[in-house]
């Protein structure tokens, strides 16, 4: 008697058409252990990513290549458990960070903000690779970049507060996305034209799933650059800019 009952060959063949966990067979009526452990491992990667931390030392070191000052900031969320329960805290800088930015009043075009979000793993693994393509592109278009900021326990909206304090015309926040079972290392990029604290999602444009096995650094950089140019040309971002999203096709 076989312990695991496999799905029919024809069903297994259908795995070609979907990444869904179909045709995994059964042990009795339950999921076979091998599949169960594979699921657990995927979930473990996602959980580890949620609790991962920015490698500030390594990132600061690697960011030196862009010849920009790197500022280290922190949101009002003191620790991860609080961050998860109080999204409002993650959207605002703590007092020390606000003071830290107080004397940065020189006008800039773009502030690049790097935040852990829900996966510091995504930032630790992928942000340098993305910036190595993106920053030269932005500079070649004559855009002036503000100091780079590294933010712990940050949510998307914190980018607008920071860019506003840095006197930048546009905020570009690169942030770790909520890990899925298939990917724990995706970066999301959100940009806001004329950023001020208190703006909501409809004021922003988003490019999602930036990672080597998703949207590549090159593709992502191209899309971000397109949106940046359009935002500066039309002096807006968000829903109205999204109307032209067809131009962003692969």
């Amino acid at each position: 008697m076989k312990k695991v009952i496999k799905s029919a060959e024809q069903l297994i063949a259908l795995q070609e058409f979907t990444a869904a966990r179909i045709a995994i067979g059964r042990a009795g009526t339950s999921i076979p252990l091998k599949q169960s452990l594979a699921f657990k491992l995927a979930h473990a990667h996602a959980r580890d990513a949620v609790y991962s931390e920015l490698d500030i030392t390594c990132l600061t070191d690697q960011l030196k290549q862009f010849d920009l000052p790197v500022l280290h900031l922190h949101s009002m969320a003191g620790y991860r458990e609080q961050y998860l329960q109080r999204p409002d805290f993650g959207r605002k800088l703590n007092e020390e960070s606000i003071l830290h930015l107080a004397d940065h009043t020189q006008a800039n075009d773009i502030a690049i903000i790097i935040a852990d979000g829900l996966s510091a793993t995504a930032i630790n693994s992928n942000v340098i690779g993305l910036l190595e393509v993106l920053i030269p592109t932005l500079r070649s278009a004559g855009l002036k970049l503000a100091d780079i900021t590294l933010v712990e326990q940050g949510r998307v909206a914190i980018g607008d507060e920071i860019a506003s304090a840095l006197n930048a015309k546009l905020s570009l926040i690169l942030i770790g996305e909520r890990p899925g079972l298939s990917s724990a290392d995706s970066i999301g990029a959100y940009l806001t034209y004329a950023p001020i604290p208190g703006l909501t999602d409809e004021s922003r444009n988003c490019i999602s799933n930036i990672r080597p096995k998703g949207l590549s650094y090159k593709q992502a950089s191209k899309k971000i650059f397109y949106l940046v140019q359009e935002a500066f040309r039309r002096k807006l971002s968000g829903v109205e800019l999204k109307d032209n999203a067809g131009l962003l096709g692969e």
Partner: protein, 457 residues
């Protein structure tokens, strides 16, 4: 103003809304909203105070003003005083004991259902332990019909959820066939589309309808598009079985979803007119979930569980085939961990059933919640004991389109096995005829010649 004194400490609660919020078992969403009790003692003080509030008070004191909210108007204007009569003399605390009493039977609960307002249901649920929520829900029987019969005691159904990130027809079909071979899909075969474009939704509707007709499956289909898209598709002659919509318990939240009751009336009438049901005509499928009102900044200081119960007033106006609380999808800022998700699911299931709804639960969590498969196993089992009408069936628990974890096809089989539950009767008969289960309900292995695998049968 409500008050209670514990050891010379006087607790005051500004109004019924405040009292309900402070009496609510702890959850992150109410903390985020700033409406929850500040201490353990205050919470129990609120519960003791709430227990003494007469049910009649709920007909005179509303949590969101009548003039400002069409759901408040619906609750007050359609309150059935005749059904309310047998419980009209009770306080919330009396009501709790009354619900648990052996003299209160399935029939009694069915008779008074229309006399209970959502706020009364929410209030009593806040005083109940998990086992009370289970014991009373178990006594409720809500039966609905379309092409099969959902909610009969001893039966337990599943929504087959074959989502695909790009709506690829072959990918969707593969998940449907996989699910059917595990005996899933009697509540509905329901797809969350990746886009809301009418043409894409119509393609998916046609895909399921063709399969259903080819194999003569006694179930119903649904593509969970926005209600305006569904109305358009009905007008264009697409094969719409069930009309779907996400709903919530405040007018302002529903407005953020792009709906109001006039639009729901229109969609309900349009779907009924198609007359596609064979054994009944419950044509609506609603989804809800605690936290949606706060998320839309439209909770008016009302706690998230009371907001959720108010959504059921909207649902019951339209005699839905299915109502699904998508409990763990919203994330840890509303329901932090397994304990809070489990509690919320049992509350929603209890309140829904008490108010007369065919209640199912999406037993689910996201990767940033403090929850895992063990928590979901616990909840799944508790819901099975409580007589939950249906859960989801997702290949391997992993929804690759919505990026969250729900229940697998296997989970439903486990529950049926350990609790002796059976699929909807019409669907069960079909599964036997197809050779998917035997006459005792045991799953069989189908061979390559099976029609669903492209064989000639």
């Amino acid at each position: 103003m409500y008050r209670h004194t514990i050891k010379s400490k006087v607790y005051q609660f500004a109004d019924l809304k405040d009292l309900l919020a402070k009496a609510s078992p702890c959850r992150s969403g109410d903390e985020l909203a700033g409406v929850c009790a500040a201490t353990y003692e205050e919470r129990v003080a609120a519960q003791i105070t709430l227990a003494d509030v007469p049910l009649k008070t709920f007909l005179n004191e509303v949590v969101i003003p009548y003039e400002k909210d069409e759901i408040t108007r619906l609750i007050i204007d359609t309150h059935n005083t005749e059904a309310f009569e047998p419980i009209s003399h009770l306080t919330v605390g009396d009501f709790c004991d009354w619900l648990l009493s052996d003299h209160t039977t399935t029939e009694t609960l069915q008779q008074i259902s229309a006399g209970i307002t959502p706020e009364m249901a929410a209030a009593v649920s806040k005083l109940m332990r998990n086992q009370d929520l289970i014991a009373v829900a178990k006594k409720c029987e809500v039966v609905t019909r379309f092409r099969n019969t959902i909610g009969l005691t001893g039966h337990f159904s599943t929504r087959l959820q074959p989502n695909h990130p790009t709506d690829n027809p072959k990918g969707v079909a593969a998940s449907i066939i996989d699910g059917l071979l595990y005996g899933s899909g009697d509540a509905v075969i329901g797809i969350n589309p990746a886009t809301d474009s009418p043409a894409a939704v119509a393609n998916l509707l046609n895909l399921i309808d063709t399969l259903r007709q080819q194999f003569d499956i006694p179930t119903q289909s649904c593509v969970l598009s926005h209600i305006t898209t569904t109305i358009q598709l009905i007008n264009e002659g697409a094969p719409v079985d069930l009309c779907f919509q996400s709903i919530a318990g405040t007018e302002k939240t529903n407005s953020s979803f792009g709906i109001d009751m006039a639009l729901l009336d229109e969609a309900y009438a349009a779907t009924l007119s198609l007359n596609r049901g064979t054994v009944g005509n419950n044509v609506m499928y609603f989804e809800t979930g605690q936290g949606s009102s706060l998320s839309a900044n439209a909770n008016f200081g009302v706690d998230q569980q009371t907001c959720e119960a108010r959504a059921y007033a909207v649902a019951r106006k339209y005699n839905p085939l299915l109502v699904n609380t998508v409990v763990g999808f919203i994330g840890p800022e509303y329901l932090y961990d397994g304990k809070q998700i489990i509690r919320a699911a049992l509350e929603d299931h209890f309140c829904g059933k008490l108010l007369g709804l065919s209640m199912g639960v999406d037993v689910c969590y996201t990767n940033h919640a403090e929850a895992d498969q063990d928590d979901m196993d616990n909840l799944l089992t508790l819901l099975g004991v409580a007589g939950c009408s249906f859960i989801m069936g997702v290949p391997g628990s992993d929804d690759i389109m919505l990026n969250y974890q729900s229940t697998s096809f296997h989970d439903a089989l486990y529950l049926r096995k350990v609790l002796g539950l059976r699929p909807a009767p019409e669907f069960e008969l079909w599964l036997m005829k197809q050779g998917i289960i035997d006459d005792k309900g045991n799953l069989l292995s189908v061979n390559a010649a099976h029609g669903l695998l492209g064989g000639k049968g």
